[in-house]
Each structure stands twice: as structure tokens, then as C-alpha cells.
């Protein structure tokens, strides 16, 4: 019993770098209590390291030699090749000894960066719509119109305007009465065109184009008024130019944030920015639907047309097929699903309201493209 109470100090030979010169000191290392004492071969003490401040990395695959560092003196290092000492000190080190390939990897960092990414993404998601509108307000109307013209020209058939005089009159009448109840930044210019797409759109600068094929689908002037009010609502909110700024801003920010090492990460980012854009685009559509409904009521029209048109478009475009893809399809779309739009427009169905146009006016509008006089704009 007495003998073991005076244990010999565990000792090992090693090499020590003092961080002051590139000299390699041959040293004896001994464990005294909870401290490593580093002594030169002649006996002078070079350093004393408390085990609680020391961390270790295996120098080689066989774990035969180990490099120790101490927190208090970052340029110093101690290399020992003695297993008995290593196994004695290992449990008391600052952290578990690591392989060289694990050196510097910290799960907390990885987790922190993942969280930070999520937070940054969330900030982008919520601040972008708030930022685009004020920037959009800075854009001069003249220039916005120039962009609008280019946009209209880039869509096949969108500049082949139909212009039967009586049809244009019906159109102008409806546009006027909706303009009176809407808060438009500048007057809109509405046209029906022999567009290849069965659709309608609003471009920057107040250009609204409604496809001939879309009108052909409509069964009442209320439906037309609903679509027109929706597109005018986009202009009232300056959505088209805001979307351009949105795309522009996101591409610049992502360009600045991303390192160029891996093609896959870049593709992933492009996908993310598209999803972000689409999500905001759906918000815009919801807002436009809402404003359209309010404006129709203010102008004294029925909002039934908006609902009935969505219902017809849903069945025409195989709403069922789309729903079969599940929620994915609504994520990947610029517009909310017809089902959602029908539900929200039904919620507030009013019923009063006069027809948007008389039967005669509606007939003229439906046949606006029937004469051969189509003009190309500019």
C-alpha cells in the first residue's frame, strides 16, 4: 500500500516547438498532477501545460504519435510518441483527441451555418416583397413604358391588336369605369390581341393585353370585367415592374453570395430563387384577385363573373390532373390554384350588381377581332 502511494511520474520523450523560433527542442514530458511539465534534456523547465487547456491530434494513421497544443500559447506545439503517457492524459484533455482529418471540424459550426442559412433565406423571403415596391416607385413612368413595349413585343401575337371600332368602344367604356374606382399610377392601355396564348397579361407601363382565344371562352361581360379588373389591379399595385426588380435583385444577391466551386450548388440556387419568385408571384395574384373583387363592387358590377370564369378554366385545364401532382404543382406555379381562387372569390360573393356591358356591347367586344383590320403597334 505504501509503495503505490508514491507512484513514479509518467514520463515520455518528445519534441517541443516554443513558438519563438523554428528550433526543435528535444524534451522530457512528465505528468505532474493535472499538468504536463515540459523539460529540456538538461533539466530546465520550458513550459507547464494544464491538461484542461490541452487538445491533441494524432499525427499519423497508426496513432503512434500525437501533437498536443495548448490554448494559452497558440504557436507552441508538443509532439509525443509514447502510448503509456498518451493513454494516461487522454481522459483529462480539453476535448477528445482527434484524427488529422477531423481536426477543425466542429458539428456546432455546421449546425450554426445551416440555421444561419435558414434565417437568411427567411429574411429574403419576407423583405423582398416589401423592398420591391418602394424601388418600383423610383422608376420613371416613361422608362417603364419603354420596358412594357419590349415585353409586349416579346410575346408571340401580343402586338397584333384587334380593332373593330365598336368593339374598342365597349372595351374603352369598361376600362373607364374600372379606372375611376382604381388607384392607378398612370392610365392603362388595354387591347385585345390575336395572341397565341389563351391568356391575358399586364406589362410594365400599363399595357394590358387580353388574348382573343381567352375572350372566346368567356360567356358573359362579367367574366370579361373580372379578368380586366384583375389585370388592372396588377398595374395599380405596379406588380409587373416590381417583378422585374425582384428577379434582378435576387440574381444579383445570389451572385454575390455564392462561391463558384460547384455547378450543382449553383443549379440549386437558381431553383431556390425561382421558387422564391414564384411564391411572391402567387402572392401578387392573390392581391390582384382581391383588388379586382373590390373594384368590381365599387364600380357597381357583379363579381359572379370572376368566380364562374375560374370554375370554367379549372375544368378546361384539367384541374384534377394538376391536383394529382399534389402540393408540388402549386409550388411550381406563378398563379394560385383555380380551386383556391374560386374558394376565395366565393367567400365574398355578393350578388347585386348590374351586368358590366349590355348584350349588344358584349357582342361587339366578343367580335372585336372579326374584321380583318388588325394593326401592329409601333
Amino acid at each position: 500500500m505504501l509503495l503505490t502511494s508514491v507512484p513514479s511520474e509518467p514520463m515520455a520523450n518528445g519534441a517541443y516547438f516554443d513558438g519563438k523560433s523554428a528550433k526543435k527542442h528535444a524534451v522530457h514530458v512528465s505528468l505532474v498532477g493535472m499538468e504536463l511539465t515540459i523539460q529540456a534534456e538538461r533539466g530546465e523547465r520550458l513550459a507547464t501545460w494544464p491538461l484542461a487547456d490541452v487538445c491533441a491530434v494524432y499525427e499519423d494513421k497508426h496513432k503512434s504519435s500525437m501533437r498536443l497544443r495548448v490554448a494559452s500559447a497558440s504557436d507552441t506545439a508538443l509532439i509525443i510518441e509514447d502510448h503509456s503517457l498518451v493513454s494516461r492524459i487522454e481522459p483529462d484533455l480539453l476535448r477528445a483527441s482527434r484524427k488529422r482529418s477531423d481536426d477543425s471540424f466542429i458539428w456546432l459550426h455546421a449546425f450554426g451555418v445551416i440555421c444561419a442559412t435558414a434565417i437568411v433565406a427567411a429574411i429574403f423571403y419576407f423583405t423582398f416583397p416589401l423592398l420591391t415596391r418602394p424601388i418600383a416607385d423610383l422608376v420613371p413612368v416613361e422608362w417603364e413604358k419603354k420596358i412594357g413595349v419590349t415585353v409586349v413585343e416579346s410575346i408571340p401575337g401580343a402586338n397584333r391588336f384587334c380593332n373593330s371600332e365598336s368593339g374598342k368602344e365597349s372595351l374603352a367604356k369598361l376600362t373607364r369605369s374600372l379606372s375611376r374606382v382604381m388607384d392607378l399610377p398612370y392610365p392603362v392601355s388595354v387591347n385585345v390581341a390575336r395572341m397565341e396564348l389563351k391568356n391575358a397579361f399586364a406589362a410594365p407601363g400599363g399595357f394590358i393585353v387580353i388574348g382573343q382565344k381567352l375572350i372566346a371562352e368567356m360567356e358573359s361581360p362579367d367574366e370579361f370585367a373580372g379578368v380586366l379588373a384583375h389585370e388592372m389591379a396588377h398595374i395599380a399595385e405596379r406588380h409587373p415592374i416590381s417583378r422585374l426588380i425582384h428577379i434582378f435583385g435576387i440574381s444579383i444577391l445570389f451572385e454575390l453570395m455564392v462561391g463558384g466551386d460547384a455547378a450543382v450548388v449553383e443549379a440549386l440556387l437558381e431553383g431556390t430563387s425561382l421558387l422564391l419568385f414564384l411564391s411572391h408571384s402567387r402572392d401578387d395574384e392573390r392581391e390582384a384577385d382581391k383588388i379586382a373583387r373590390e373594384s368590381l363592387i365599387k364600380a357597381g358590377y357583379s363579381t359572379r363573373g370572376l368566380t364562374s370564369f375560374f370554375v370554367r378554366m379549372q375544368s378546361a385545364y384539367g384541374g384534377d390532373k394538376k391536383d394529382a401532382l399534389g402540393p408540388m404543382s402549386s409550388w411550381l406555379s406563378t398563379h394560385p390554384s383555380f380551386a383556391e381562387r374560386i374558394a376565395s372569390s366565393r367567400n365574398q360573393n355578393d350578388d347585386g350588381g348590374k351586368p358590366a356591358l349590355s348584350d349588344a356591347e358584349w357582342f361587339e367586344l366578343k367580335t372585336i377581332c372579326d374584321n380583318n383590320l388588325t394593326t401592329r403597334r409601333r
Binding site: G19, E41, S74, D103, A110, I114, L138, A263, V264
Partner: protein, 371 residues
């Protein structure tokens, strides 16, 4: 000096050869790369600062000189700080100004031209700064036997030289290139320190020109041949009258275009390696540290194999395997670099300069980091 006797490191004496050894293994690097890839994807590449650092630690650590390993002491946090600095102090203001001007003024307004020019000049002058500062950061985070390396000098001065030489190279159709490489390398090496000792770089560029001329004429000759024959083929295309002839001529031209640019790529790549091998050898020969002279046994074949292998790795891993290409570069240099002469390592004192607190923001943005 009592301490002198305790040293276990013999001084390198004349005639002895000092070698670098690299014992990194693909098997050890692979788990690092896989986890890094996963984390980079999850974080839309924001983890790259930490993943780069981990790879560097492994590569530096796998390199030893006289039995003592190099150490990389940089951290991911430092690189991230560098990124934040550049993002908020340089890029965001430029991007904001750019966006506002682009939106507020019509596209044909003269201020748009002024803006493009200003942005272009700023970025152009920042590339040289990025290269120089990135090297300073990496050297200051490199340790051997507890002593730091370092780089002094002004990154703006380097940048000015860099721009001037790039312009001269363009004006002279490439003929200034070898001088540019020598001068820029000289600026870096002459400002490179290990501890309190400075590296020296000195030599004439003359010997590089023979190789350069061969490569230049090879490349330009091929380019001309390619251009002329393509023009000839396209005139056949214009002369073709009926649809069948046009389709035939079109197909021939497309095939020629693909094959031609492939051949051009391979030949110019080879020509580049022929020149580069000579340049690397010359750079080593011009470098001195204390009484050590360096020699790099860079062969044309070895270099071509390095380049082709690295291109294949990047293609097959979609860019995620960049760490493997870096390890191959390390191995290339470690296997082929030798130092002869004398050096008293014990007498080298720690550098007083701790190096920059953060780094490589610009290099990250411009993608000019070598490792």
C-alpha cells in the same frame, strides 16, 4: 548557447537535399469531401468557408519537411468574416448603386456608360488585390515548427502592376506574358517571409522565351488554319443551292466546328503545359531562402497528366471534387520540389506580424483562390 546542444534538428549542410513529403490519402480526404458537399448543398454554399478550411488543414497537415508537418491555423470564421466584409463594404454598395442607376436612368443615358466603366474598373483593380491578399492570409496561417510564414508589401501596388501587365499582354498579342509572370511572381516571392527571414527571387526571363515562342506559333498557327478552313467551308455553305446541299454543308460545318474546337482545345492545352513546365522550373530556380536554392522537377508529361486528371475529376464530380485536384497539386509539388544548400532552422525567429485578422473575401468573390 546551452540550448544549441538540445536541438535534435541537424543543420542542413551543403550537398544535402531537403525534400517535402506529402502523405495525404484519397481515403482520408473522401469522408471530408462527402460531408462538406452535403453541408454545402444544405446551406446553399454558405458552408464553403468551413469546408475549405477543413480541406486545407488536412492538406497542410499531410505535408512535411524534415519530418515536421506544416500546420494550417486559419479558421472558417475568419474566411466568413472576410466574406461579410467584402459583401457589405464593397459589393452591396456597388450593387445598390448599380441597381438604382440602372432603374432610374433610361438605358441610353450617358451615366449608364460611366457606371459600367466605373464598376468595370473597380472590379478590374480588385482582382489583383484579391490575389495578393489571399496569399498573404494563407501564408500568415501557415506554420512550420511553430513559426509563421508571411507576406509583406502593398496589395494595391501589386494590383497596379497586374493591370498594367494584363493590358500590355493584350496589346502585344501575348508576347509580354512571360515577363508579366516573372515580375508578378517576383513581387510576391520577394515579399514572402518565413519567420524573420525573407525569400529572394531573381532571374532573367530570357530562357522562357524559346518555349513561349514555340507555343505561341503553335497556337496561333492552328487558330489561323482553323479560321481559314472554317471560312472556306462556310463559303461552300453560301454557294449551296438546293436544300440537300445546304443540309450537307451545314452538317459538315457543324462536325468541323466540334472536332476543330476540340483539337484546338487539346493543342492549346498541351502548348500551355509545355510552356508552364519550363516556367515552374524557372520560378523554382530563381527562388532562394537563406542559403537554400530550389529546384522543381516539373516535366511536360507530369504537368499534362496533372491537368488532364484534374479536369476529369472536376467534370466527373460536378465540381465537388475540387479538394482532390488540390491534393494532386500538393503531391505534384511535394514530389518534385527539392532544396539544396544550408539553412540554420534553429536561428529563425518567429515573425512579429500576426497577419490579417480575416481574409480572402475578395478572392472568394472573384474565385481567384488557388487552394
Amino acid at each position: 548557447m546551452a540550448n544549441a546542444e538540445t536541438s535534435t534538428a541537424p543543420k542542413i549542410q551543403g550537398g544535402e537535399t531537403l525534400r517535402f513529403e506529402h502523405d495525404g490519402r484519397v481515403g482520408e480526404l473522401l469522408p471530408i469531401v462527402l460531408l462538406n458537399t452535403l453541408l454545402n448543398v444544405l446551406t446553399l454554399s454558405l458552408y464553403r468557408f468551413w469546408s475549405k478550411t477543413r480541406v486545407r488543414r488536412y492538406l497542410w497537415d499531410s505535408t512535411n519537411l524534415l519530418g515536421d508537418r506544416l500546420e494550417y491555423t486559419g479558421t472558417g470564421g475568419e474566411l466568413f468574416k472576410g466574406f461579410l466584409f467584402v459583401f457589405f463594404v464593397i459589393f452591396l454598395p456597388i450593387a445598390a448603386a448599380d441597381t438604382l442607376v440602372t432603374l432610374y436612368f433610361p438605358p441610353d443615358h450617358p451615366i449608364q456608360v460611366v457606371l459600367r466603366l466605373a464598376v468595370g474598373l473597380t472590379f478590374g483593380s480588385l482582382i489583383g488585390v484579391a490575389i495578393y491578399r489571399a496569399r498573404r492570409y494563407r501564408l500568415s496561417r501557415t506554420r512550420w515548427r511553430g513559426v509563421r510564414a508571411n507576406q509583406s508589401g502593398s496589395s494595391l501596388a501589386y494590383s497596379a502592376r497586374y493591370i498594367a501587365f494584363i493590358l500590355l499582354t493584350i496589346i502585344t498579342l501575348g508576347w509580354v506574358y512571360p515577363i508579366m509572370r516573372m515580375r508578378l511572381m517576383g513581387t510576391m516571392m520577394n515579399n514572402t517571409w518565413f519567420g524573420d527571414r525573407q525569400f529572394h527571387f531573381e532571374g532573367s526571363v530570357g530562357s522562357l522565351y524559346k518555349r513561349f515562342a514555340i507555343c505561341w506559333f503553335l497556337f496561333v498557327g492552328l487558330l489561323l488554319t482553323f479560321g481559314v478552313t472554317l471560312k472556306h467551308l462556310s463559303s461552300g455553305f453560301e454557294l449551296a443551292t438546293d436544300a440537300e446541299n445546304i443540309a450537307e454543308a451545314g452538317a459538315a460545318m457543324a462536325t468541323y466546328g466540334v472536332v476543330g474546337s476540340l483539337v484546338l482545345g487539346i493543342v492549346s492545352g498541351t502548348a500551355f503545359c509545355i510552356y508552364k513546365a519550363a516556367e515552374l522550373r524557372h520560378f523554382a530556380k530563381c527562388t532562394r531562402f537563406e542559403r537554400l536554392a530550389f529546384e522543381l522537377n516539373a516535366t511536360i508529361g507530369g504537368l499534362i497528366w496533372l491537368v488532364i486528371g484534374n479536369i476529369l475529376i472536376l467534370l466527373l464530380t460536378l465540381g465537388f471534387g475540387v479538394a482532390f485536384t488540390q491534393m494532386r497539386k500538393f503531391r505534384f509539388f511535394c514530389d518534385r520540389l527539392e532544396a539544396r544548400g544550408t539553412i540554420d532552422a534553429d536561428a529563425i525567429i518567429q515573425s512579429a506580424d500576426q497577419g490579417p485578422g480575416f481574409g480572402e473575401g475578395l478572392a472568394d468573390a472573384f474565385d481567384v483562390g488557388a487552394i
